[in-house]
Amino acid sequence: MSDYDVIVIGAGIGGLCAGALLAHQGRKVLVLEQAERVGGCCSTYELNGYRIDIGASIIEFPQVINWAFERMGTTFRKEVDLIAVDPTFTARLHDGTEITFPIDLEKTKEEIRKLAPEDVRGWEAYAKEMDGFLKAALDGFFVTPARSLWDVCKLFAKTPSLLKYGSLFFGSYEGVLRKHLKNEKLLEALSFHSFYCGLPPAILPGHFSMIPYAEHAGIYYARGGMIGIPLGFQKCGQRKGMEVRLNATVEKVLVENRTAKAVKLSDGTVISAKVIVSDINSKTFYTEMIDQNNLSWLARAGYKSYRYSMATPMIYLCLDYAPPLKDHHTLMTVPMQQMNDYWFDQYEKGRFPAEQFGILSWTTRSDPSLAPAGHHIIAVTLAPGPYRLVGTTWDKEKETIKQNVIKYLESKYLPGLRDHIVHADFSTPVDFERRLRSPEGAIYALRQDLTNAMMFRPSAKSKQIKRLYLVGASTHPGGGVPTVTASAMIASDLIAQYES
């Protein structure tokens, strides 16, 4: 007799959504979280009256998240107070030029006409291609398992219109944009979105070039902080008896006869369950929390071969003035080739320069209640940060890097910034690893190129151990709030099918 029907390891978006969906299947669910709060990368912490988002600063594809809530007889909007963000972003280019992308596609076209009249037709062609691809992808790709070649064949059979867009999968993000657009400034404005998936424009697969277009379907912020989204799933699960235990670190998953039986916590407690669901990085999970004798040599080689996704250092600024910005998201950009060169010449070689590109997320622009009256918060998402710095460590350099980056931001984007900082916190890749138990600070778990996608990404239903399932960024369809939600729907469907 097991203690629970299901134990979920990790209360990130994937873990809480899977737990809630499984509770709604009538299962007795326990969610174990090592941190003191839920949400993982999509969470919010409080500091002297400021509510600061740890990672995610908006959500895209709200319809995918809504599907999960609908399965529980409710809606995203009923469970989470969503604030529509418009425009999607303003890009401040390296030469000081600004371009804004309103939600309305016609208005965006007018903005493009001002900056790059020669690319209006190209933008229309890009929008048309992405619109068709998104319709096909949303129809099946997001919530269909892709564990084997057979699954992938079935996926394409279910949505044959995806075949029309097959070339997107085999090209690069940069290639797709350059096919349609010629103006280097417009390309620069649209380049940083490739890092939303963890890779530079040159090597990110082309189908992700849908992201700048997809934002025009609407992007949202959760009132009170992004933690509102995981809390929404938690509330839904708790209505059906789901338990969430914080500060509970799982050390091992106990396996007998290649079947997951129980988890062992760091305090020695053993809790058994009929099914175990893991919402932690699957490479770490399989290489550190499972006895290696339970895995085939080929699978062991596979898990070891995965490369962690990039880490994103973040600076959280609490300010006593309204910063001179226009929108919730301001992208600080450099030319597309410079972003690629940064990846290969700096990031991969362990360097982290003060001259930065990234995102200024002015969250109090959308929700002033996050800070005391008249005060504001900017979460600065910096360029990808190498986990290992050449010749030094993040802990040694943390303060120097923070001050240098703040000086740079002041000189280029936020004049007078240093006179208005009430508090500045810097989360390095190492801090992310410590806070979130995210190895190497990897925000998308594993890299998201073709060699880590679909059937080549760790399977939602373990191929090695019975009654073990994966959710989260390190299984199909990958990293990001909506995709992680989709992974929870996939796992709960598989559990309903195989673990009745």
Binding site: S172, A202, I203, G302, Y306, Q337, D449, M455, R457, K463
Partner: protein, 45 residues
């Protein structure tokens, strides 16, 4: 001998084709090729 010549011609064509690619296209291909040996083990995960 004939087979060696055919392989050499194909390899030569591929080298010329690769040389004509843009820097970013080369980076895309290099990245995929560097990971290709892991596809089989990854399929079993």
């Amino acid at each position: 001998m004939k087979a060696v010549r055919i392989i050499a011609v194909i390899a030569g064509c591929l080298v010329i084709l690769y040389a004509t690619l843009t820097k970013s296209r080369k980076q895309f291909i290099k990245n995929l090729l560097s990971q290709a040996p892991y596809l089989i083990p990854r399929y079993f995960t």
